[in-house]
């Protein structure tokens, strides 16, 4: 089999997951996209393990480990999303702005003038 097939499929799946991570609003959908990216990496690992004929089977073993870590990550991530939803009433990632900088910090010297003008 041509090695380019699994490699190209993995690259495209990774980019689809990248789009999902950047564009989705619900935190659980972001986690789904992260799973897509991890699966793309897994496909690469399996394909290169089979290509290199590794006697230690490092690629497939690492794939198993990535699957396990992804399961742990999805468990913890969903628990965090549920805790955030319980505390805030929403799980949209672009509404959780507590750590964001305020959009425009008004200059304290201009503030009384603007208030006087308004």
């Amino acid at each position: 089999m041509h090695l380019a097939y699994p490699a190209v499929l993995a690259a495209l799946l990774f980019c689809v997951g990248l789009y999902g991570v950047l564009a989705r609003r619900n935190a659980i959908l972001v986690l789904m996209s992260v799973e897509l990216m991890l699966n793309a990496v897994n496909l690469n690992l399996v394909a290169f393990d089979v290509w290199l004929r590794d006697t230690l089977h490092a690629g497939q073993s690492l794939t198993l480990f990535v699957i396990t870590v992804a399961a742990a990550e999805i468990g913890i991530g969903l628990a965090i999303v549920l805790a955030v939803y319980r505390a805030r009433g929403t799980s949209d990632v672009d509404r959780l702005r507590d750590l964001a900088e305020p959009p425009a910090v008004p200059d304290p010297a201009q503030l009384p003038a603007e208030e006087a003008a308004a």
């Binding site: 990248l18 609003r25 619900n26 789904m32 399961a71």
Partner: protein
């Protein structure tokens, strides 16, 4: 420059396994695209099942049989169920929700298209004449069990500790606060 393997097989010699790989790959990629673009959140989780199942078939075609069944068991069996539980518990809208995508969707599309073009160009250029020999199976349960418990025992055991820690952490994080604190524990 053409290597010896490329001389004997040509650039795109369609063997049966390659055709099957290509078709299943198209289905997988389409399901992935629908997963990240659909506006119905539960449908997104169900399309993720199609994507992960297609990837399991790809593992089978790459003779990684054990990984394929692990993929079916863990991803399709438990991770998607967990995601569906998460969607239900956060009261995701069942029908079509117009605000499933955030405002930076064009930027995300641009980043994804640029990185896809870059990666595909690089990968095709690098592995144009590289071939996988799949005739002896390399990932049966026998081989993988021997490799896992002969060479990778220590990471395996460390991962079991990691799973235990993740389990305890998930329980602690999702535990409700006591109802007598300030009435905050009465939700659901």
């Amino acid at each position: 420059m053409i290597t010896l393997a490329a001389e004997t097989r040509g650039f795109l010699s369609p063997a049966g396994v390659e055709i099957v790989f290509l078709l299943v790959g198209l289905v997988t990629l389409g399901a992935a695209v629908v997963t990240v673009t659909t506006r119905q959140l539960v449908h997104s989780a169900l399309w993720l099942v199609a994507t992960l199942g297609g990837l399991a078939v790809e593992y089978l075609l790459l003779t990684a049989e054990f990984i394929a069944w692990v993929q079916v068991l863990i991803y399709v069996g438990s991770v998607v169920v967990l995601l569906l539980f998460g969607l239900m518990l956060t009261r995701a809208p069942i029908g079509r929700s117009p605000d499933a995508d955030s405002g930076n969707r064009p930027v995300a599309l641009g980043v994804a298209v640029v990185s896809a073009g870059l990666l595909v160009t690089l990968v095709v250029d690098a592995f144009r004449s590289t071939w996988i020999d799949v005739s002896p199976a390399r990932g049966t349960t026998d081989i993988m069990g021997a490799a896992l418990f002969r060479h990778w025992v220590l990471p395996f055991e460390a991962l079991s500790v990691l799973l235990l820690a993740a389990l305890v952490g998930a329980i602690v994080l999702s535990r409700r606060t006591a109802p007598s604190a300030d009435g905050a524990g009465e939700d659901r």
